[in-house]
Symmetry: C2
Subunit: 318 residues, 2 copies
């Protein structure tokens, strides 16, 4: 039997199937990002998760695959902890690798993600490359957070006259329920310090752009350009040229929901790489971790298994 465990900063997901892809169990547990939690809390949380699994299943028989944010520099440490608490057969992936497997279904491809944060990642034969994904404090170019921050920035620059007028000012006033955006400053400084909250403002930029607001449109174009830079950097490092045909999958809440960014990004990709195929695909990364279980066990990927698991997972989430 297969156990896939995905862990982010605030929560984790556990999906258990048999070797035919029949979903046996799904639940959510505490966060599992070792960088965020520190070693001690990480170990506590992983113990909790494993304990809950072991109530219903014999963990010695299971093959575990972990897709963990923060795993890239901590693989040894995490392996040590897992062994200590009695997990014998396991594989550790980063959250990015798990997402890559989920979207590509085991095939070589490039993925570009723009949700709260942003990154691109790709594999081609023995080459692997990642660009971006350094986090909100100084990176996350073209992400929902980046777009939301620009919305605030440009709105205030417009208020004091450094740039032209934008409908964003009015739309943000409506959101914050103030008659002048300056009055929202204390609210912004108390509630918009978290990237996730700021990323929500990206939808306002989308709506304003649809209404023809030039500054909003500019922000979205800049975002698409940053996302293209990520894809292009990965493609170059995978030694791809304009002759190669290759799949690029876009994912993440921002990129999936803002058609105009998707379209501009596609245009830019096809201009430089005319044989690429770009499409939006949202499959949760836990499916990738589960697929890794299958790969470890059978040393291959099975597309029917993948389909079955996705269906079963969707059913479970209903």
């Amino acid at each position: 039997m297969f156990v896939a465990i995905d862990g982010g900063g605030t929560k984790s997901r556990v999906l258990i199937t048999n070797e035919d892809g029949v979903v046996l169990s799904y639940f959510e547990g505490p966060g599992l990002n070792i960088n965020v939690l520190g070693n001690k809390s990480f170990e506590e949380n992983i113990k909790q998760v494993i304990w809950r699994i072991s109530k219903d299943f014999d963990i010695e028989d299971h093959l575990f695959c972990f897709g963990l944010a923060g795993a890239s520099k901590n693989e040894e440490k995490i392996s040590g902890i897992l062994k200590r608490i009695g997990v014998k057969k396991f594989k550790v992936l980063t959250d990015i690798e798990a997402t890559f497997l989920a979207l590509g279904g085991g095939d070589d491809c490039i993925i570009v993600s723009s949700g709260t944060g942003s990154f691109a990642y790709g594999q081609r034969e023995n080459l692997k490359y990642r660009a971006g994904g350094w986090g909100y404090l100084f990176d996350d170019e073209g992400s929902g957070y980046w777009v939301g921050r620009k919305a605030l920035k440009y709105a205030f620059m417009s208020i004091d006259g450094r740039i032209g007028k934008t409908i964003l000012v009015k739309r943000l006033e409506e959101l914050f329920q103030v008659d002048s955006l300056e009055k929202a400053i204390p609210l912004i400084y108390s509630e918009y310090k978290l990237p996730r909250k700021t990323a929500e403002l990206a939808l306002i930029v989308k709506k304003s752009a649809e209404e023809g607001d030039n500054i909003s449109l500019l922000i979205l174009k800049e975002a698409a350009q940053e996302l293209f830079k990520l894809v292009d950097t990965v493609a170059c490092n995978l030694k791809l040229t304009k002759e190669d045909s290759f799949h690029v999958y876009g994912t993440g809440g921002f990129l999936s929901n803002v058609k105009c960014v998707e379209d501009i990004l596609r245009e830019k990709i096809l201009k430089k790489y005319p044989c690429f195929i770009f499409e939006i695909r949202n499959i949760p990364s836990i499916i990738g971790s589960l697929l890794m279980c299958y790969k470890v066990k059978f040393n291959r990927i099975d597309k029917d298994f993948l389909k079955k698991v996705i269906q079963g997972y969707k059913q479970m989430k209903k």
Copy 2:
């Protein structure tokens, strides 16, 4: 006698002189930014400061001038608190207005500040205008914080290949004492969340630019451009044209210490406003608050008083 009190988020300064400008007392007290502290703590802190003054001086006889960060939207509230605790003769300025008075010595001018944060402010006859100064969360264009953040951003973009090579990577590795910048990420996320800390990285950009690093030079050029935008916006709103002669004073830790930004900014200002005079001037804002006491009392400004006070203050700080 005159009491000038300047208050920021974490500390305040108190300067007491007689009407001839002879410094009688100087001390530092707790923070006095009402937005940061909230009403209750603000009142507690101001009481502490006033109590300390009243130990040595009769506060009823004194004329008080406050230069307070966070005062712009809270003047009435602050006045109410001051009256309640027994301060009778007072005037409240924002920290920006106090700095303006200190630098211009009572004359019309524009000031542009780039320290941790950034803003420009000017007065001309009855016109007043401010641009920028909305804070680090989404503004502070061209500030030390903004430059430091770009340094991190571009260094990581350079590492993953989104932009060309930059010496910033090596310089930051030296600072963080790591052999690869990626290893500094946990440190950056734990210690560089405060704008003040990130602003310190601006000096690394300065040094790298001096060594001929193109990306560092680009960051400094962009910073100068953003600072020019602030000055230009204020100048336009003060109805100044290329025929007008006017003083612009640059101030703040970043702008005062990075000659190349000063030079580019001057060039840009003189290109559009050939009759302007731009110079760096650093006089603490508390001198402005004290000058306001003089102005309230005598309904004019006296340059000898100003000189005497600056000298006395410098002596006191030694």
